[in-house]
Structure formats: C-alpha cells, structure tokens
Amino acid sequence: MKIEAQDVHVYYGLDHTLKGVSLSVKKNTVTALIGPSGCGKSTFLRCMNRMNDLIDNCQVKGNILIDGVDINSPSVNTNELRKAVGMVFQKPNPFPKSIFENVAYGLRVNGVSNKEYINDKVEWSLKQAALWDEVKDKLKKSALALSGGQQQRLCIARALAVEPSILLMDEPASALDPISTSKIEELIYNLKASYTIMIVTHNMQQASRTSDKTAFFYMGELVEYDDTRTLFTNPKKERTQNYITGRFG
C-alpha cells in the first residue's frame, strides 16, 4: 500500500471536520474523493502533505502512513514530505515569474544549481504535463500570460519537477473550460503510470472517467470506498446512490 490512512480526525478549532477516516491507496492508481461541499474531502487531501499545518488552529489526529512512514510523527520534515507529495490547487496559482522559473523554482529551493540539470528537468516536466509544445518558444515569458488551462498544466509541471511519488489534486479542473478539462483528465490518465494520484472533484463524470477507486465523503465521514465502477454502478449505501444520481449535494 502506498498510502494508509488510519482513523484520521481533523479539528478546526472546535469544528470536528473529519471524523475517523480510514482508507488505503495502492501505488500507481487514481483515487477520486467526492462528496458535497464541506464534507471534508479537501481537508483529507490536505492531510496527505500536511498543508493543514499552515492553519493556526487545525489539529490532525490518527495515523497516515506513506510508504510505511507515519507522516504526522515529529521526526518527519514537512519540506521533505511536500517534495514527495506534490499538490495542484483548485485555482491555477503560477508564480508571477517566467514559465521557466515557475518550473525551476521547486528545484532551486531544493538547492539544485546545475544549469544543465535544471534545463533538462524543466523540459521533462513540461513534456510530462503536455505543455512543452505550446510553451517551448516562450519559456522566458510570464506565466501569467498563459490561459487558465495552460496555467493549471504549468502548475502540474511545477509539481512534477521535484519528482514526487504522489500527486494531490484539489478540484484541478473546476476553474477550466471543457477542452482544458479534458486535457487535464487525459494527463491524469497518463501520469498514473508513474505517480499515485488523489483527486478531489465535484464532477461525477470526471471521477468516473479518471479514477480507479472512488471515496464518497459525507459530513466528515467516509461513507463508501470502492472500485470506481462498482461505486458508480452498484453503490452499497443509499446515501452514495442519492449523491451520485444527483438527488442531493
């Protein structure tokens, strides 16, 4: 198992946002987290690279093992963890720098200074994110001049450059048009070969198209977790059935 979450609880101040979620993820699979807004799926995703640490009054309890190591133990360095567990956010958030520098940033903050290596890595990452052909002639241009879909793929390339083994995606296509969305989905499918991917989405079709396993969250609890095909065609819980057919949520 690549990721094993055991009885994870998250509190924001007095709010009990995540109530004992246990879930295991196999290597090189795509896991979709679905559920209505505020159900805790994004919170769960942000536990994987400890982004919740940044929130002042947030408390995480329970064990999350990645490759067998408990990431919440005090000996784990969050910077190292976040290099191994990349993240792509809902809104494309490129740095206000050039396209090249956006991708190179993760390498630079890791102390890489070899120019040739950085050049190669930037090219490789942009190719992985299926963006290279569109930007190879304007690497020095500002990343903010790209379209929303290109910006999001740039953010994916940026995350890939530091060679993570896990990629977390928090509604990566929700701010994009259908064409950009399909490009991102195709990308997710291709990246599966080398990465373990967890994706939060509000789009049922997207979940069913892209993922191997789907987890349905509701009110801070994991209601159902199964193979995507089974969950969408033959859900065991009525609540899941209602949600995926659009009866609530």
């Binding site: 690279n49 982004m51 940044l54 002042d56 910077n79 190292e80 963890l81 976040r82 290099k83 990349g86 993240m87 956010f89 809104k91 958030n93 490129p94 740095f95 206000p96 940033y105 993760g106 630079r108 903050v109 890791n110 903010l144 953010c155 940026r158 995350a159 530091v162």
Partner: protein, 298 residues
C-alpha cells in the same frame, strides 16, 4: 401590476425626485469646494514661499553654512546633516521595520497577545513626535550617553517612523494572495524561501513605497530633534555619526525666529529646498509603485 398612485401622491413624488436631484448636484459642488480649499491654501503657501525665497537660491546658498550675516549664510551644514540623518535612519529603520512587519504578518500566530501587540503598534504611529523626542533624549542621549549627535537623532527618528514602516509593510504583505504561499510551500520550500523568493518580490513595491514615505516624514520632523538638542548654529557637516549635527527643518526654525528680514528670506529658500526633497521622495515612491505594479499582475 402596482397600484396607480393618486394625483397628489404623484406630484409629491415628482417634487421629491427634484429635491434628490438637487441634493446630488449640490453635493458635488460642496465636495469640489472642499477640494479647492485645500489646493488653494497649498498654492498660496507655495506662492508665498517661492516669492520670498526663490531668488535667494544660488550655488553659494548650498555651499555656505550658518553665519551671523544673513547674506553669507547657507544650508551646507543643514543639508549635509539631513542627508546623514536620512541615510542613518534608513539603515536603522528599514531592516527593523520590515523585519518586524514580516514577523507579524507571516510568522506570528493569532492570539490575545498578538492582538494587543498589533493594536499598540498602530497606536504608536499616532503618538505626537515630541514624545519620541523625549524618549530619545532619555534613552539614547542620556542613558546610552550618545549625546546630541547625529546617531541619537537618527535613532530617535527611527523610533518615530518604525510603526509607520511596520504597518505599511504588513499592508503590502497582505496584498500577496494566500495561494502564492501555498504554491511555494507545497513544493517543499521552507517558510523563509517562500518569503524571500515569492512574497517579498511580489510585495516590494508596497514595502518600499511605505518606507520612502516614512523617511520623507522623518526628514521633515523638527520637534523631536530640538528636544534631543540638535545644534541650531553649526558650520560643518558631521564627518561621523558621533558628531553634533543640524538638519534643514531646524535651520529653518532658527532662521524664522530671527528678527531680520534677510534671515526670513533664507528660511523661505531653505523651505523650498526641503519641499523639493520631499516632493522628489514622494515622486520616487509613486514612480516605483507604478513601475513595479506593471510587472506584477494577479
């Protein structure tokens, strides 16, 4: 369908609308008049100063220092002192103020203590400058035995403008979107790397603008420097910070207090120079903001 208004009601409505229209127009004139008063006063002031002092400004005026004869007096020592104070205050207040601003905005966690701290820093910005002068006199001049020297003056003025720099630095940092911090941290960058490579470059226009405006306020201050005992009659520019000094506002204050008309002409001329420096600095702040903001678009 709404019920039709009766004839009387309709007339009343029309009258009321006319009144609103009148209100609208007249308020515009009141606002215009209010703006006009401010600009007019400034123009009269500038005209008065320029009429008195502009003819007095020549090369000699810059090269001479205090003298008992008004015609031989100049602003050499005062201008030099102002440059010294400006440089020293910048060196002291910028790093401390910007550092404190970064700490409060990026590192400090929300708590009751931090709230009290924040409110007090904002309050400090509103304390009369002469109080800072008394503080400087007691701490730097007497306790630390620095005397009435340029370094005492610079330290005192640094205290005075620290709250302004801290507040403006925090405001500048607040304009940087939170998702930029997330993006950097999620790549495994440390907090300091995130601040240094992403947040500071994005907020530097605001920080520098605020700091320049703070310095330009500092060089116009007179009261705290009089309190710490800055010299009024001095003929040389300090060669080192531990020497006594004077600055332009004090020179102006000293000349204005003299009964002879010629000294007041000198004062007017010095005011023009001081205004010039302030305008240049404010202009630089505006220009820098304009330049940098074009580069960064969210």
């Amino acid at each position: 369908m709404a019920k039709k208004l009766g004839k009387r009601m309709r007339q009343k409505q029309v009258r009321k609308n006319k009144w609103y229209e009148f209100q609208d127009k007249s308020y515009k004139f009141i606002a215009l008049a209010a703006t006009g008063v401010g600009i007019l006063v400034l123009c009269v002031l500038l005209y008065d100063v320029f009429a008195d002092g502009f003819g007095r400004i020549d090369l000699e005026f810059f090269l001479n220092s205090s003298s008992r004869k008004a015609k031989n007096a100049g602003i050499y020592a005062a201008l030099g002192g102002t440059v010294w104070i400006m440089a020293l205050t910048t060196l002291i207040a910028f790093p401390i103020g910007i550092g404190a601003g970064i700490y409060l905005e990026e590192y400090n966690t929300k708590s009751r203590m931090s709230n009290i701290l924040e409110i007090n820093i904002s309050n400090l910005a509103g304390i009369p400058s002469i109080i800072y002068g008394l503080l400087g006199l007691e701490i730097f001049s007497r306790t630390l035995m620095l005397g009435d020297t340029a370094i005492t003056g610079a330290l005192t003025l640094s205290l005075l403008i620290l709250p302004i720099i801290i507040v403006s630095t925090r405001e500048a940092l607040k304009t940087v979107p939170y998702n930029l911090r997330e993006a950097s941290l999620a790549l495994g960058a440390t907090k300091w790397q995130t601040i240094w490579y992403q947040i500071l470059p994005a907020s530097i226009p605001g920080i520098v603008t605020g700091a320049i405006l703070a310095i330009s306020r500092a060089i116009g201050e007179t009261a705290p420097l009089i309190v710490i005992g800055a010299a009024t009659y001095i003929t040389s520019v300090p060669t080192w910070p531990n020497e006594s000094f004077t600055v332009l506002p004090i020179q102006i204050f000293y000349w204005i207090g003299k009964p002879q008309h010629d000294f007041q002409v000198n004062a007017a001329a010095a005011i023009i120079i001081l205004l010039g420096i302030t305008f240049i600095m404010n202009g630089a702040a505006v220009y820098l903001r304009y330049r940098w903001q074009k580069k960064i678009k969210w």
